[in-house]
């Protein structure tokens, strides 16, 4: 039987794997957490909204932000638009630097760490909910962004 997995096939298919991890098999380390306890989508939505507002508040395109942070455009798009996307720690570090907020709090919102203080998470979700995603920042969005920055800054209620 002819082997259909040729080098050409491999190269034509390799792109499927970009941004994905492929693994299979019984782990027997930690049982997989129940899906409803896996990092909150709500707080990840707040993170996405914050990045989107903060970026637009500075008049930046995704491309510009990608260049400044040296983070892939795809990763930034996923953070802004996909509440299931798990950002990596380096990306959050870069974003925290650019937007002048706390990396620890961004990690907490992303679900990478479990925040000890849940107050800022709730507040961030509340501010994020105030904003509506439209092309330009409205006064209300500006207010939501100011609120998010205050909540996610290092100084306020660590």
């Amino acid at each position: 039987m002819a082997d259909r997995i040729t080098p050409e096939w491999c190269l034509a298919m390799a792109h499927l794997e970009i941004g994905h991890e492929v693994g299979a098999g019984l782990t027997a380390i930690d049982p997989v957490p129940d899906e409803d306890t896996e990092g909150s989508d709500e707080s990840r939505l707040a993170l996405g909204r914050f990045v989107s507002l903060a970026r637009r508040g500075r008049g930046m395109s995704i491309d510009t932000l990608a260049e400044l942070t040296e983070v892939d455009v795809g990763e930034l798009l996923s953070i802004e638009r996909d509440a299931h996307h798990l950002p990596d720690t380096r990306t959050l570090y870069q974003l925290a630097q650019i937007f002048g907020v706390s990396q620890h709090k961004l990690m907490g919102l992303s679900g990478l760490t479990r925040p000890k203080d849940l107050k800022y998470v709730d507040e961030a979700i509340r501010y994020a909910a105030l904003s509506e995603s439209v092309a330009r920042l409205t006064k209300e969005e500006q207010a939501a962004l100011d609120g998010l920055i205050a909540v996610l800054s290092e100084r306020k209620g660590k």
Binding site: R4, H20, G23, V32, L86, D88, R90
Partner: protein
């Protein structure tokens, strides 16, 4: 005495993640001492390094690579002379880039092919430097997992199993099997650490192979 090499070698290819260029690679059957030595000398230290970074960054343990305690030497030794298990490795740049063990005695679960024979992927792992990590590490080569899935389908065809394959996905790979491979998601399996079980029918397998054949031309 030179240790025994693989019984069969076929030519495959990987993609360099940075340049996008093709990299020649080989598919070895079965796993050899060289592959296990690579796992000990290269994979394990790299995994340890990643765990230190994840730990330092305070990343939740359930987000750490789930295969971090897999011991390929033990897995390999457990196979013995069993006809039901087969193993394979992907080699490029002189180093093992991925390994896989399959089982030929599992039966399919999707209703329309329930109890039919299939190739069950017991274990599939890609070398740690070829994975995206939560600490910002970028993969070196891509396409290793995809080619191993392709080879499992090929094996299923050779055995008369029509391309049917099944596997329990690591949590970080669910999206890949469902959306990139087009496998059927049969949900979380209470008997397997709650891992999600995925399966391919002959139709799905054929579509998967055809995708690479059409765009490859």
């Amino acid at each position: 005495m030179t240790p025994p090499g693989p019984k069969s070698i076929s030519q495959v290819a990987l993609m360099d993640a940075v340049s996008g260029a093709g990299v020649p690679a080989e598919f070895w059957q079965p796993i050899t001492d060289k592959n296990l030595a690579d796992w000990e000398a290269h994979w394990r230290p790299a995994i340890q390094e990643q765990l230190v970074l994840l730990s330092d960054a305070g990343v939740e343990r359930h987000l750490w690579p789930q295969s971090r305690e897999w011991n390929w030497r033990k897995k390999h030794n457990a196979l013995g002379s069993s006809l039901s298990n087969e193993s394979a490795a992907v080699m490029a740049a002189g180093v093992t880039q991925g390994m896989m063990i399959v089982d030929l005695d599992f039966r399919a679960r999707i209703e329309e092919q329930a109890r039919q024979h299939m190739v069950y992927i017991d274990f599939l792992e890609v070398a740690p430097w070829n994975r995206r990590t939560l600490t910002g590490g970028a993969p070196r080569y891509v396409g290793i997992g995809t080619l191993m899935i392709g080879k499992a389908i090929q094996r299923s065809l050779e055995l008369g199993f029509k391309g049917r394959i099944g596997l329990h996905s690591l949590p970080q790979s669910n999206d890949y099997y469902a959306n990139q491979c087009g496998m059927r998601d049969l949900g979380s399996d209470a008997n397997y650490n709650k891992l999600r079980y995925f399966e391919m029918t002959p139709d799905m397998a054929e579509r998967f192979l055809m995708r690479g054949e059409r765009s490859g031309r």
